[in-house]
Symmetry: C2
Subunit: 263 residues, 2 copies
Amino acid sequence: MIGIFDSGLGGLTVAKEILDKLPNYKIIYFGDTARTPYGSKSAETITKYAIENTKFLLNKSAKIIVVACHTVSSVSMPALKSLFPEIPFFEVVTPSFKKALIITKNKKIGLIGTRTTVESGIYNLLFSQADPQIKLYSNPSPLLVPLIEEGWINKPETRKIIKKYLIPLKMKGIDTLILGCTHYPLIKKIIQEKAGKRIKLVDPSKEVAIQVKEFIEKNPNLKEKLDPNGEIEIYVSDITPNFKKIAQLFLNKKINLIKVNLE
Amino acid sequence: MIGIFDSGLGGLTVAKEILDKLPNYKIIYFGDTARTPYGSKSAETITKYAIENTKFLLNKSAKIIVVACHTVSSVSMPALKSLFPEIPFFEVVTPSFKKALIITKNKKIGLIGTRTTVESGIYNLLFSQADPQIKLYSNPSPLLVPLIEEGWINKPETRKIIKKYLIPLKMKGIDTLILGCTHYPLIKKIIQEKAGKRIKLVDPSKEVAIQVKEFIEKNPNLKEKLDPNGEIEIYVSDITPNFKKIAQLFLNKKINLIKVNLE
């Protein structure tokens, strides 16, 4: 069983990529819709929620955990790894950092994400350790999640707000842009359009799925423990009025939701 | 002690109106910033949180409880009143309904608010019982809370989105508009501008403060139990990076925050 969690629905873009690349394994997804969004909350509170979500997935027999949320990936990984040392954890920050490092030519990289992700400084730290010449320019883009969750994907207001968030990054001459939030692949087309052809996008949902696939293939012992049953079970902490519609938008197929109480 | 709670910061507009009208009583405010926003969550989850918030305020010696959140006011009052029968509760829906009933001339009333507030149908029920001739036109406006919490109060994107939300209501010829969310008084000027002079706004924060004042003045016993010490103590379930800035925007003065864990 591959366990995936996110603050809400954004992580379904990660689930979709993993399903595409590993169609033979069962996925358990947990979305903390009762407490979403995480992106504007404090690191302490986010880590508390991340631990509860991990415990839930482990109780459901998950053998590996994919943190499909940039905010959690940015602030909670040390705590998760020390509390659950035997569990292989994957998160979305490292693979997107690695990809950006490979594709940038002028060493000017842009980052958009929630306020907590951007302000955590995790990407700055990674890039400065890997190559001190790299310049990272970031802009918190907190309105994109609510716009996506409202389904305002093609509205002119959304296009204008995306443009506004990208202007300061474009002015710095970036050639690579990290989509630092698992919701953003849903508006990738508009982001690409507003960024222009010169800028290459890094989609962390894709990158983490590649990592998970490689890891499973290298670990035959783990392979045996995963349920060979290509399906997805989705659990949420709250079934909200808009949820089913949004979940279908993400996964592109009809899904069943099971509500659970974490507290 | 007057207890006030909200999902987050919006209820501070209510606290401010009560402080203005009753400057001699101590207010305890609780904002559930660890789980905000409520407006897109289910009625069941919202009621669970509302009960926890009420217990917190009662433990802090609150003698009356003001529910400064439209979403909770719309879906959780029966549960709160039956669980805490001795406590006088005030909420923001009834006073704004009453005010709208008084000021409408053409009996066409508009309502903007979160998805859960609008879809609860509480205003429809109240108006249809009071006067079957009244037509209520509503439009869920879920992006206004994130825009306000981002401090995008005077940005052109915010003005455009407000205009967009109001168009269908204006086309129905409403003469009264209920601001069905305690965040909205912060953008009242722009709403008035986009609605036009013909439409009168109902500000529930003001209306509930008037109700609370009248109630206290009519109940000398209660008056004695309230701490005659005109100050506000603000508790939150999470101190978020942006919180202090936003809280000051609402209350218009420097404030101290105390973090508490509800769970």
